[in-house]
């Protein structure tokens, strides 16, 4: 259900998501990030086109956040819809994520 675009420049990975991140699409996001994370210390995820996410989506985001934390890197989520912020609030994810407009 989700559209995943990835681009890597140097040590920065830029991801753009669209649609809904759910049981079917979240593992694809996790694979996309983890297969090329070796030299990456900064991940930016643009959520402008992402409509919603389920706990499977939270899992993929958590894995990426933990990966960046482990290597003193940084992950930033951008342009996050209010409905998704509500999910982050509900699940306590707001306090472990970095979110920018």
């Amino acid at each position: 259900m989700a559209d995943i675009k990835k681009e890597i420049s140097g040590t920065t990975m830029n991801i753009a998501l669209g649609g809904i991140l759910d049981t079917k699409s979240a593992p694809q996001l996790q694979d996309a990030i983890m297969e090329s994370v070796a030299d990456v210390t900064e991940i930016n995820i643009d959520m402008a086109q992402l409509e919603y996410l389920t706990s499977a989506g939270l899992r993929a985001i958590l894995v990426a956040q933990q990966e960046m934390d482990d290597k003193d890197g940084k992950m930033t989520l951008k342009h996050v819809a209010k409905e998704i912020i509500d999910i982050f609030k509900m699940t306590g994810f707001l306090s472990i994520l970095t979110i920018e407009d």
């Binding site: 919603y52 996410l53 389920t54 499977a56 933990q66 934390d69 509900m90």
Partner: protein, 145 residues
């Protein structure tokens, strides 16, 4: 009472989730006043509950899941029921995850049920004649405050 209830039966296989999404989204589309947020929230609820069933209900041989949808004309409430004959599982007994842990200690197990409980207006589980029957009710057409 049953005239406004429609149902589908699918094998408890992750591959079939699109069929369930299509069914629920098709039913929601026919209801006046349903907004995009209702559809997204129900997508999440279906994703969590159906994937729980496909992951845990049946061990060796995959069985069926019956998903029924009810909406009475003029009502602002819909209900969905998930029925399977897998091993008894009451999601209401799921341990509430600690949502205050730092990222490194977080686990996602249990979050799906937690999200469902926080999204729907009513959720009820019963085990009857060897079936797990989970019914959720949700008011529709409400904009977020």
């Amino acid at each position: 009472m049953c005239t406004n209830t429609r149902k589908i039966c699918v094998k408890a296989d992750a591959q079939n989730i699109d069929e369930v999404f299509d069914f629920i989204e098709g039913e929601l589309e026919d209801i006046e006043g349903v907004c995009r947020q209702d559809v997204l929230k129900m997508h999440m609820v279906v994703d969590e509950i159906f994937s729980n069933i496909t992951n845990y209900a049946y061990e060796e041989e995959t069985g069926d899941v019956i998903i029924s949808f009810n909406h009475e004309p003029g009502s602002d409430c819909i209900s969905m029921t998930f029925t399977d004959q897998g091993r008894p599982y009451n999601p209401m007994e799921e341990v509430v995850p600690d949502i205050n842990l730092p990222a490194g200690k977080r686990k996602v197990g249990g979050l799906g049920v937690f999200m469902v409980r926080n999204t729907v207006d009513d959720i009820h589980y019963e085990n009857m004649d060897g079936s797990n029957i989970l019914t959720i009710k949700k008011r529709i057409g409400q904009e977020q405050d």
